[in-house]
Symmetry: C2
């Protein structure tokens, strides 16, 4: 008789708000880009949409205030967002514990990948600050047809790791990460570091919620990951 033993899961990380402390800067950069094009939105509404792809964010915001955004406007907005965010980028830092968490996972040979709704250009400085080398698979917006809350980014990340999606866990700060995780068919761990409340993340199905990567690092055993010192 063979016995099935559970394996350590692979981790699929979101980037902004999960490993890097960039959500609030992205929010104000979107706000500024939208204002430039004469589209006025309260800042909190933008915050709620961060983590979606830029295209979805723009469409969703427009619908919320009953204003149709043309595809040319959406394109222009994304370009302006990238340009405005450049100015904010200097102040952006890794979240507490993010570098240590990834180092420990590497040392323990736990497979992990990054899956971000952002564009490769936007992700690069963040990856450098986190010390993420070319051995770590990074899936960005342009490599999949649809970004979060569609599951495509996480499915592609698991595939790149050569791990069945059911053996992976998503780690993300936004509702869109957790919804995408459920659609992908894997568990999701929520982090408070993007500014969502614990109640909200639990409501959309987070398996566990931690404050930030530092707290996740000290609770990895709750996800079935054992780090031996």
């Amino acid at each position: 008789m063979t016995q099935e033993t559970s394996q350590s899961p692979a981790l699929l990380f979101d980037l902004d708000g999960t490993l890097i402390d960039s959500v609030y800067q992205h929010v104000l950069a979107w706000h500024e880009a939208l204002e430039e094009l004469g589209l006025s939105f309260a800042v909190w509404r933008i915050h709620r949409r961060i983590g979606m792809s830029g295209g979805l964010l723009v469409q969703a915001l427009g619908r919320e205030i009953g204003h149709r955004v043309t595809s040319e406007q959406a394109q222009k907005l994304q370009e302006r967002h990238v340009a405005v965010y450049e100015r904010y980028q200097a102040a952006v830092q890794p979240l507490p514990g993010a570098r240590e968490l990834l180092q420990q996972l590497s040392r323990a040979k736990v497979p992990y990948a990054i899956a971000t709704s952002g564009l490769p250009g936007g992700a690069r400085p963040a990856l450098e600050r986190l010390g993420i080398g070319p051995e770590v698979p990074v899936i960005t917006r342009e490599e999949v047809q649809r970004a979060k809350p569609h599951p495509d980014l996480f499915l592609a990340a698991a595939q790149r790791l050569n791990v069945p999606i059911g053996k992976a866990m998503v780690v993300g700060d936004s509702v869109w990460d957790l919804l995408a995780a459920r659609r992908a068919g894997c568990l999701g761990i929520g982090l408070l570091s993007g500014g969502y409340g614990k109640e909200k993340l639990e409501q959309v199905g987070a398996y566990r919620v931690y404050q930030d990567p530092a707290e996740l690092l000290t609770h990895l055993d709750e996800a079935g990951i054992r780090i031996v010192d």
Copy 2:
């Protein structure tokens, strides 16, 4: 036999995040001021403390990461925050419906006041943009001994309106507003426009939660306030 009829309540408004769309700019201004003094905090932790007085915010953040902030550092931080926020201020606008809400209340002779943990200098440009004239009582940090979540600001505001606190309702976007309202002994209405989730505001005792001043305006009857056109 006399019959007691319920009167229309007075409204005590918070300012930042409730009437003016300034929370995210305040958050990044605090982040920058803290970094300048070598104090590194994840941005979401600062967001959670907005609405407290600057002094309390600095002490609370320090305690969260086990770092004691001296009173000189706290003073310096508050000065730097004011200076850095200046730069962000140009992009700050009234929240949707805020001006209309106050105009309608004035027209209907519903008494209202502003009670903010901010300093008078910081509040002035916001009051101007909202079209708030000298006839509206404005209580700022310096006029009371202790800011939110202490009830002092709201108690002083009700007193200035010459209304018993039990006949007033607080309108605020943060947990600190709603906790202060309960300590003051009056009901609190929560707004999502400062970035807190509905679940969180309800959890700390909000009587009702609306998206922003515009949605409150169309639901004033739920607070027992009747606006006759």
